[in-house]
Symmetry: D2
Subunit: 264 residues, 4 copies
């Protein structure tokens, strides 16, 4: 049997690459382009990109409808992402679009919006060693990975991580400086699957690492929901007595007039 | 040993009681007053009230700091609750305040804010019978309840309920018209415990029902966190290399200057 | 791209079909054969069967290794399933085999073994109507289903259902007699995904129902883990200091001699 | 208001203390006695002990009924614990008794029985440093603890830890040798709350550490369920049509004769 490719859209803030020589040397075409290239190594994934600077940040209703999974890398410009776009992305996730939030995206509006928590953590930029451990072997996101792998230099993100209890914890990281972090965690919001993955500080070549690239490809496949999006995903439909699944005779006092919409 | 009473604050929208004769007859002192009286039947709970119409809706920083648990009943005026107050309540929950959201509060800004989902459902106001089943016997919120209890008339709320997978499902309800609903579910957001409880349509005497009143008292005790609130609950502290738990020598490129705050 | 078919093994107790005329009329080739035929309607699934009466109940190490997903229907003869086979199935699940437990299989040894709870419920055989509601729209197991579907006659299974909190609740059922039941729930044990589905009483034609058949096919695809099984899935490997990821000097007292195995 | 003390029963294998000079020096009265003394520092807890060597290992039906929470330390003699006693303890947990499993108790029959997974892990006895991080601040089990605390010497337990996804993850540990471990995790089985806590290797003075002792006291209070135990906790009651909550007319074929018990 054959299946259609998964369509992934890699969103990049695309700021540090433009402003900072160090980052540009590591990611000459932008971080988003490097991530998209990692995805495209899987013939079952088609990867496109969008950036903050595009109209509507490249996240039009059409773009969101056309992709199965959105990947998000942002850092310095979280505040410049339009609230309207954030709500549109949230609704797309509820309707079935997958979302993969990377590294400093923990503070992206969309991540905080969907998780309902501060999403804060402790951090240190010291070029220290991180060792990523798989705690959930054979989870689809961990497919093909060794028991642990090392990133010679990463930004430390430390617990407590201000997230709700994850649906599943896939990775936990050890840092040279003494901290630990739940570095790969999944959530579900409506029909949309969400994965957060901690590595990816902009001054280090993390997205060139083959293990990290494998995680990204795995996560895209895991997050894709082949079913059609849920329509009217925020509606609260009234089911009048005449349409009740079981025969029902209305009785008692009523606040709502017949056919009235509910309050929101 | 002795313990301090749990301090509960019952927030009421206080609109239908003022505008609708039917509701006023059922709840002559307001729904919030009836709920507070239910709580006060437990000598270990002290209950106060606040309403939409008060300055800052009665939800000042002082009021939130002074109470262990906030109960929320709103319906027609969700949109009139100030966003600033919603954020204040959310931060209080993250810091350790319990929150109990009642009935039509499923669409309250604070509930949607903390859950990160649409919180929608299907509904019908037909005075039909609801039977509430305990699916989690001996859960603290179900203490003292029979296997099931009947509300002769309730508003039908039906699945799918647009919430994240609950931490625990305590109650599931059967409706005369053929629907089911996860009518009692728990969540945790930061240090705050959250309980949603579906019964409580304003034209029926639900909050006079002894089983419902027992659930409310149980939930208040369950949601109370006796520990001090978390301070600076949204902060992301930088831990410089010199303060790392383990001896650490900085190396490699850096984006951030020493002592700099992170981006938000 | 193309993928291999999912290999499913349908295990049937195959007792009522042999002993009871009513059941034989509904399932002349056995319930397991009917279920396998439902799966085979998906060209991406290859379905085989095994029964209690075969040597090792048809669940040899080879059979378990050769299939991605095991479906289990048992009722009257749970006690006759050999403990050794149960342990073998459990280890296969931990290693990555999917498991779908059907109806009265809630009391199968393998289900209780993997869940660690009594898995009890209330029940009634009265030919009553069941309405199955999807509470988790667009979950892979609910793909293609309507918001709810009716089984004109099913055995009532009622809450409380003695299971751990599910990973996800997919279906909740309404019964004519007044009960509710979490009729579709998922769990994960090691690398193995587990789905329990309540409909399927032997005297009713449930496994001829198109919606039920769709659920079974969906569940098989969902439960299949294409990765290789985990080897030595119960081992607790010793990692001597010389092999530690970080340089480590042993110090302090020791109970274990070098190279010693741990206690089990 | 006043509440009764929580009654805790500390179960010790009591083998290393008898056989090994090193362990005896650290725990001259036995590990169980040291743990019980830690609990008794809380005036709200009454602590007793039981050991493997007592009749029925000190875990008679009366003993289990008389205590709110059971703590379990075992290591070399897991295999000597009678299966009958294990089932009795499991049933007590389902009925509402709390259970706290310590360190090498990850391989205790009762822990594997209740979790349904191998409960395996990697390990190393090298006297290395462990740093325990609270990932769930203000969780009752973390009350009064600092963000992290150090145990100068502990046995390394490393991921993957063969457990189901926890209800809540409270602690994650960093090890000097490079591993990480989810060192404090909660589960619920029936009405019983379960906490696993990793520190506690017998040759190190872990149970003399004030932070560890605080965790134990917190966990006992958290795990205690003041409600009466569930009776007949494994029963699957038949609810005949005549007793159905809603009026119900039996129809259709039947396998079971009236009043018959279900199969188990």
């Amino acid at each position: 049997m054959s299946t259609s490719p998964v369509k992934a859209l890699v969103w990049g803030e695309n700021f540090h690459e433009q402003e900072n020589k160090l980052v540009r040397e590591v990611y000459p075409d932008g971080m988003h382009a490097c991530i998209a290239a990692a995805l495209a190594e899987d013939p079952g994934i088609e990867a496109a990109t969008a950036t903050l600077q595009e109209p509507e940040h490249g996240l039009t209703a059409e773009a969101l409808a056309a992709h199965d999974v959105l990947l998000w890398w942002g850092h310095a410009k979280h505040g410049e992402v339009a609230d309207e776009v954030v709500e549109r992305v949230a609704a797309s996730v509820w309707a079935g679009m997958g979302l993969i939030v990377l590294h400093s995206g923990h503070f992206a509006k969309i991540f905080k919006r969907l998780l309902g928590t501060p999403c804060n953590l402790s951090w240190r930029e010291a070029g220290e060693k991180e060792r990523v451990w798989t705690v959930n072997p054979r989870h689809p996101i961990a497919a093909g990975l060794p028991p642990s792998f090392v990133l010679p230099q990463e930004e430390m993100y430390g617990e407590p991580f201000g997230i709700p209890e994850p649906l599943e914890t896939v990775f936990v990281s050890w840092f040279e400086g003494g901290e630990v972090f739940r570095s790969g965690v999944t959530f579900r919001r409506g029909a949309g699957s969400i994965f957060y993955f901690q590595p990816g500080h902009e001054v280090y070549p993390t997205y060139h690492d083959p293990h990290v690239r494998q995680v990204l490809r795995n996560a895209v496949r895991w997050a894709a929901n082949p079913q059609p999006r849920i329509e009217k995903v925020t509606d609260a439909p009234n089911v009048p007595a005449a349409s009740a699944p079981e025969p029902l005779t209305e009785r008692g006092p009523k606040l709502h007039a017949a056919g009235e919409e509910g309050f929101k």
